[in-house]
Amino acid sequence: MIGALRTLTDQLLGRGAAAITVPIFDGALKPNQILEQAETFAELEAPEDLATDGTSLFVADGACVLRYDDDTATTVAQVDRRITGVANLPRGGLAVALDGTEVRVIGGPHDGRNWTSVAGKPLTAANAVCATVDGRLLVTDGSQTQPYDRWCHDLMSLGRSGRIVELGLTDGGAREIASGLAHAFGTAAAGKDVWVCESWAHRVLAYGGEKRGLPVVSRLPCYPSRLAPAADGGYWLTAFTCRTQLVEFVLRQKAYRTRMMKEIDPRYWIAPALTSGNTFLEPLQGAHLKMRGIHKPWAPPRSYGLVMRLSPEGLVRYSLHSRVDGKNHGVVAAVECRGTLFVLAKGRRRILSLSVADVERRLLS
């Protein structure tokens, strides 16, 4: 009774769970244009994920995996379905997520091993794969109700059916580490722990030992995506778009959302997107006022590009941005390989490259 009254009061006064507030990009998240100014390394048809073995860059592009040694691309794997996640295995070979519904090992000593369900539930939106040194695979299954492509539907229906699963390479075992996550998207091994991004909750959680979902990074002003280890400790965390008060408002308006999802083409929903500015029908145009023909970089974004460098403890050390007036939006993966940071801007189907040393010199000195 008291809880119901409190909810009602919160809704009336716009506070508590009904507060339409968004954290600010400041401190280490202070915006810059570094991602926007980054060199384009490659432009591809349908890039989905990046991986590295420390010497080469691997890109999941459509149904194949490309390996880049310097600028030369070689196809190292070809499958029958779209690859939605890729990881290099420590003892050779690749682990790939296929269309979100299957995880398969290609090459190496465990070639051909595959999983389509975990804990009796089928994989639905497997979107990130991480291989640990002790022969496990960590996989995030974004949602149990919406397939990989329909992530926006999952957000708009306030999906909380994501999970993080562990797959055994040697024994083929599989178990759920955690479920009921608000869109699990991206994972990494952090010592004995497992870190997992919970996109709709804007945080990174740690699991392992006593830690049952301990937030290591929380209240991010963005929707986090994949995690990758950084060369000198810590992690690269990407975000495919950032939060706005308008979207937060829509997320709290059930009737509006239901009707919008029923009647409007998903491309024109008031919802985050991987790219924007493609048609005048997109929402948020009103906020994108131009001054003397220049798009305001601080306008509320529908799409955004962001990479964060995390310390081993989860503190954001610095960040790279492509702001509203930029193009390199929808960043879903970043990996560091031989001193270069490769960033996948899915919104533009581009891979960007930046020298880590240059970035740190620019931002930290």
Partner: protein, 498 residues
Amino acid sequence: MITPIVELRKATKKYAGVPAIEDIDFALLPGEIHTLVGENGAGKSTLTKAMAGVVSLTSGQMLIEGREVRPETPVQALHLGIAMVFQETSLVPTMTVAQNLFLGQERFFNRLRGIYIAAQQFLQSLQFDVDPTATVSLLGAAKKQMVEIARAVLHKAKVIIFDEPTASLTPEEKKYFFDLIFNLKARGVSVIFISHALEEALLVSDRITVLRDGKLVVTDRKENFDRARIVQAMVGRDLSQTLYGQRKSTMRPAGKRVLSVENLRMAAMVKNNSLSVFAGQVTGVFGLVGSGRTETFKVVAGVIKRDIMYGGEVLLHDRPVRYLVPAPAVRDGIVYVTEDRKVEGFFETKSVADNIYLGLLAKLRGKRKLVSKREATEVSERLIKRLNIRAISKDVKAIELSGGNQQKVVIAKSLVQDPEVIIFDEPTRGVDVSAITEIHQLINQLADEGKAVVVISSYLPEVMALSDRILVCRMGKVVEEFSALEATEEKIMYAAIH
């Protein structure tokens, strides 16, 4: 030879046998702008209060245009043509601006509308943006100061004494103020101007007098002074390198985000403001008066309340908090060191020790059933020593201390609460140069200890000298953020104005 409009000969004022000023010979010439500078406790305020009839001289003479006078009250001094604008405002907080302006000039029948119109016209003629119908208690420090100034000008005084008038004014307001002073001078009014901002003294004065320890050190024309000479005369040592002058060449790395403000709203003053404060850093907040910087942090600390509907959120360690009064904020580790120490900072009739101990009691709330005199002594002595509060004893009343030491008491009262987030609002306002240095050292020390420190200041060199990151507020929200290394005065001011 020109007859001074006000002259003091061998002026001495003693409090309980201790001289506040001693054997001072001072002359103010007609149409002159004369600046008094000196550390807090040097005797500037006592000297001017004697002229304004607030205190009586123990010995010595006071002459106005060659005629010996002895004003016993401010009203008598006003009739002799001397008005004083006090450092700590003397306005009636429950009255409106217009009522304060015309206080003492009431007629038998007063038409309120007429008073408001007259006040509006008068304030506009001074280019002061103050609403005459506003209640004074609701005004910020700068606007209260403006009303004080306007009141003195309205009384057509021949001598106007300004005690630290620019401490809380923004750069534009200062410019208006200086124009006003020059205007008064052109009309033959003499001005005594007390300031700690030496650049201002060098800018506006005709002559400068330096006081130290109640004695006059030197009086000379402005042209014969430079900053170093004034500082040397004020403190008897060269402090020019330790104050404001240095910009930070390194910055502390940000620790964990301790405090977040998200889309905060508070009436017309704070408009959708968002910011973060990190552990182990000094976050400087700069903005012109009315930019909402003070109000934002007052909401954070529970001093004032945010809007009841859609007022945004304040988060401490990512946990939403909402303080309706400061006590729970203090218990959670957030303290606010006020910009208006006399009104909000301490109990002026209580001793230094009591004031400090009250800070601890506020934190402990019900955990101390009985007040422990021994604990009070221990706590206050520790903090008096740590902050180097110069008082004859810990039992001296706070009101009897100089401005700098009063400020240290306010800070001590907050530090005794062992806070995690410390918000300093104008920490060196009306504070002498040596106390400024000590307060700055303390602020840096707190950040080095890992505390999240916020410094709100109108004084750019102070913000730049202290801050690891600088937030600039304008029209109720943070509009720009600079790291200590990239900030310049021009960039900050541009962000604050445009």
